[in-house]
C-alpha cells in the first residue's frame, strides 16, 4: 500500500494553516478583550461620579459620561442596565431612556441591522429595556415581511410590538396562531395590568391551551384572590384534568378559601393529583368540619394523598390525637403506616 507524499504534504500544510489561523485568531481575540476591559474600566472610573450626579442629584449630564468608542458604549450599556434593574428612584428611568436615546441609539441601530443573530438579539433586548421607540418602529417595519424562524427572536419581536403599542400582551396571549412556549406566555402575563387580566378571565374559554395554563399559574403565584370564585366555578365544568389540577394548585397557593364544599367531590377523583390538592384545601379548615373527609384519605392507594391528608390533620389542634384514634380503629395497613410516618415527623419538629 502506497500513499502519495504530495497528497500527505498538502493535507499537512492545510492543517498547519488551520492551526496557525486558530492561534492567531485566539491571540487577537484575547488582546482585543484585554483592551476592551481596560477601556471599559477607564470609562466607568471616569464617569461614575457624573452618573450618580445625573441620576440622583438632578445635574445635567457631563461630557465624561458620553461614550465615544465601541468599548465605552458597552461599558455605558452595562451601567445603564444595572441602574435600570436596581434603582427605583422616581425619574431615574426616564433619565436613562433619554440618555440611551441620545447617545446609544446609533450603537443599537447597528446591532439590529447585524446579520448575526446574537447581535440582533442583544439589540432587541436593549431597545426594549431602554424603550427606544423610533428604533423599534424602524426595526419592525424592516422585519414586517420577513419570516422569523427562531422562537426567541419571534418572541422578542412581539415584545417590541408591545413597546411601540402595535399590539398588547393581552392580544398576544389571546392569539391562537402565535405559538409561544408556556414560560414565554407566563412572562407575557406578568406584564399585564389588572384590567387586562380581567379581560383574559372574561375570555377564558377562547384562550389557547398554553395561555390557559400560564394564566392559571400566574394567578396563583401572584395571589390574585379576586379570581377565586371564577376558578371554583370553572372547576365544575372543566373537562381537562391538567387544567383542573393547575386550578386546584393555584387555589391552594392563594389560600383564603371560604368554603371547602365545592372541593369535596375532588377527594374521590380518579386522578391522585386532584385528590391530593383537594385534601390540602379541605385540610385548611378546622378538623371538626374536615376530618370526616380527610380521615378516609389516610387509606388512599397513593402515598402522596395519604401523606398529604396525614400532614393536614397533624398540623391542626388535636390533630395528633385524631390520628392516634384513627390508627387504633382502622384495619388498613397503609393508614397505620402513614400515621406512624407523620408522628415521626411531628416528633422531629418538636425536637
Amino acid at each position: 500500500m502506497r500513499i502519495s507524499t504530495t497528497v500527505l504534504l498538502w493535507i499537512i500544510l492545510t492543517l498547519l494553516t488551520l492551526l496557525l489561523i486558530f492561534s492567531v485568531y485566539l491571540t487577537i481575540l484575547r488582546l482585543l478583550e484585554k483592551r476592551r476591559l481596560l477601556q471599559e474600566a477607564n470609562y466607568v472610573q471616569r464617569s461614575k461620579v457624573h452618573w450618580m450626579n445625573y441620576l440622583f442629584y438632578n445635574q445635567d449630564w457631563h461630557e465624561d459620561m458620553v461614550p465615544k468608542t465601541l468599548q465605552e458604549k458597552r461599558a455605558a450599556e452595562r451601567l445603564l442596565v444595572k441602574f435600570l434593574n436596581s434603582v427605583y428612584v422616581e425619574g431615574t428611568r426616564e433619565k436613562i431612556y433619554l440618555f440611551a436615546e441620545r447617545y446609544m441609539a446609533s450603537y443599537y441601530r447597528k446591532m439590529l441591522a447585524s446579520t448575526e443573530w446574537s447581535h440582533r438579539m442583544n439589540g432587541l433586548y436593549r431597545v426594549i429595556d431602554f424603550r427606544l421607540i423610533e428604533l423599534a418602529e424602524n426595526h419592525l417595519n424592516k422585519w414586517s415581511n420577513r419570516n422569523v424562524r427562531n422562537a426567541e427572536e419571534k418572541y422578542y419581536l412581539s415584545l417590541l410590538k408591545i413597546t411601540v403599542g402595535r399590539t398588547t400582551a393581552l392580544d398576544l396571549v389571546k392569539q391562537d396562531e402565535v405559538e409561544f412556549s408556556e414560560h414565554q406566555n407566563r412572562a407575557l402575563l406578568l406584564k399585564l395590568n389588572q384590567k387586562d387580566l380581567n379581560s383574559l378571565i372574561d375570555n377564558y374559554d377562547y384562550l389557547p391551551h398554553a395561555s390557559k395554563l400560564a394564566l392559571i399559574d400566574v394567578v396563583g403565584e401572584k395571589n390574585y384572590i379576586q379570581y377565586q370564585d371564577f376558578f371554583v366555578k370553572q372547576l365544575e365544568i372543566e373537562e381537562r384534568s391538567e387544567l383542573r389540577i393547575r386550578m386546584l394548585k393555584s387555589l391552594e397557593l392563594m389560600g383564603f378559601i371560604q368554603d371547602f364544599h365545592p372541593f369535596v367531590s375532588f377527594l374521590s377523583s380518579p386522578f391522585w393529583q386532584e385528590r391530593m390538592l383537594a385534601s390540602r384545601i379541605v385540610g385548611m379548615f378546622p378538623l371538626r368540619e374536615s376530618q370526616q373527609y380527610l380521615l378516609p384519605l389516610l387509606e388512599d392507594q397513593t402515598w402522596w394523598v395519604r401523606s398529604t391528608a396525614a400532614k393536614a390533620i397533624a398540623k391542626q389542634k388535636e390533630g395528633i390525637s385524631v390520628l392516634l384514634n384513627y390508627q387504633l380503629k382502622t384495619e388498613d395497613r397503609f393508614a397505620k403506616e402513614i400515621i406512624d410516618e407523620q408522628l415521626l415527623k411531628e416528633e422531629a419538629i418538636a425536637l
Binding site: 500500500m1 502506497r2 500513499i3 507524499t5 500527505l8 504534504l9 493535507i11 499537512i12 492543517l15 498547519l16 488551520l18 492551526l19 486558530f22 492561534s23 485568531y25 485566539l26 491571540t27 481575540l29 484575547r30 488582546l31 478583550e33 434593574n85 448575526e116 443573530w117 446574537s118 447581535h119 438579539m121 442583544n122 433586548y125 426567541e152 412556549s181 408556556e182 414560560h183 414565554q184 407566563r186 412572562a187 406578568l190 398554553a210 399559574d217 403565584e221 402515598w303 401523606s307 410516618e341 407523620q342 415521626l344 415527623k345 416528633e347 422531629a348 425536637l351
Partner: protein, 473 residues
Amino acid sequence: MSIWEAILVFFGKFLIFYMIGVIIIYTLMLILSLLKLRKEYQLDKEELDDDFLASYYSKPVSILVPAFNEEKGVVDSVRSLLSLRYPQFEIIVINDGSTDATKDIMIQYFAMKKMNRVVRRQLETEEIQEIYQSTIHPNLVLVNKVNGGKADALNAGINVSRFPYICSIDGDSILEERSLLRIMKPIVASNGEVIAAGGNVRIANGLYVEHGAISSPALPNNLIVVMQAVEYLRAFLMGRIALSRFNLVLIISGAFSVFSKSWVVQAGGYDKNTIGEDMELVVRLHRVLAESKEKKRIEFVPDPVCWTEVPSKLSVLRRQRRRWHQGLTESLWRHKRMTLNPRYGAVGMISMPYFWLIEFLGPIIEIGGYIYLVFALFAGDVYIEIAILLALLLILYGSVFSMGSVLMEAWSVNRYPRIRDIYRLLIMALTEIFWYRPLTLLWRLEGLIRTIFRRKEWGKMERTGFQKKEIIS
C-alpha cells in the same frame, strides 16, 4: 504475496479507512459545534436568565451530592451550591459511609441537627442511618447511609428528595452562580420535552476558591492536568454539542447533570451494578423513552460550568480511565439490542454504532495502528518519510480539533483569559500523540480486558482540595 503480507495490506487499508472515517465524523462534529457556538457568541445570556426567572418557580430542583471521603472538598462544594442563583432548591449531601471526617465536618460547619424524616422508598438502597438538617440553611440536608457506592448514594438522595427535578453533583465540584439556571433553561423552555440536561465540566485543580466560588481561572502547572483540560474541552465542546443537536447524547457527566425525577424512577434509578452509572442511566432513559414512544430529549448545555478536580497522578488517572472504559463497555453490551435497531430511532441507528465503533473499538484499532506502523517500518513496507508524514498528520489533526475546541471555549464560556494558557494548550495538544494518547489507549484497553474477565473496582480519586490562600500558578 505471503499470508503475512496479505494480512498487513488488509490491516493497513482498514486502518486508513477507519482513520478517514473517524476524521470525517470528528470534522462534522467540529463544524456543527462551531456553528452552534458562533451563533450564540456574544449573546447576552444574563438578559434571558432574568427574563424567565419567574418561570423557574415551577421547576424546583433537588441537588444531590454523593460524598465518599470528601472531607477536603465537600464544604467548598456545598458553599458554592448555597450561593446558586435559583428560586427554589434543596441540597442533599449523601455521605456514603465515608471513613474520613466528611460527616463530622458537614455537621459542624453547617450546624446540622438530626431529624426524623420519613423517606419514601421509590428505589432500593442501602440503609439510611440518619438524616440531618442545617439550622443555618434549612434547604441543606445531610443523609448518612451505609456504603453502597455512588449509584446507591444517588438513589438514596432521590428517595429523600422533595422536588420534581434532581441535579447530581460530585462531592468535590464547584458550580458557578448561574449554572443551575442555565442548565435548567432547556427543560423550562421546552415545555417538558427535555427530560435531562448535562452541563460543561471544567478542571479546577490548583484553582483559588473563596466562599465557594472560583476566582481567576487559569491552567495549573501539572502537565497531566493540562492535558486533561485539552481533552475535556474537546469532549464537551466538540462531541457533546454536536450529538446533542440530534438528541444522540449517550453520556452526560455525573459531575453535573439534571434529570426529571419521575423519568429516572421510571428507568429504575441509577444502576448499582455498573461502573459507569451516569452513562447507564442515560442509555436506559433513551430506551424507556423509545419503548414508551415518548418524544423527549436529553440535551447537553455548553454554558453552565461545573468546576471539578481531575487526577493529577498517572496511577489515579489510569484507574479512572480504566473504569470509564469498563462502564462504557458494560452499558453498550447490556443494551446491545438497541444497536442498529430502528425501534430506538436515531439513538439505535447512529448513537449506538458510533459508540461501538469509535469509543469502544477505538483503543483496539488505534493501538493496532501504532503497532502496525512500527512493524511495517521494520518490514520495509512503509517508507520512513511516509511514516513521518503520517505521524505528523495524526499530530496535526488532533491538534486542530483541540484548538477548534479552545476557540469554542473562547466563544462560549471564555474561562481561560490568558494568552499564555492558549499556547500551553496548543503545545500540549501537539505532544498528545507521543505520550498521553498511547497511555490512555492502553488504559482503555485494560478496562476492556477487565470487563471481559469481569473484574470490578470502585475508583477513588485522591483529592487535594481547593486552594484557599493563593492561586497556584
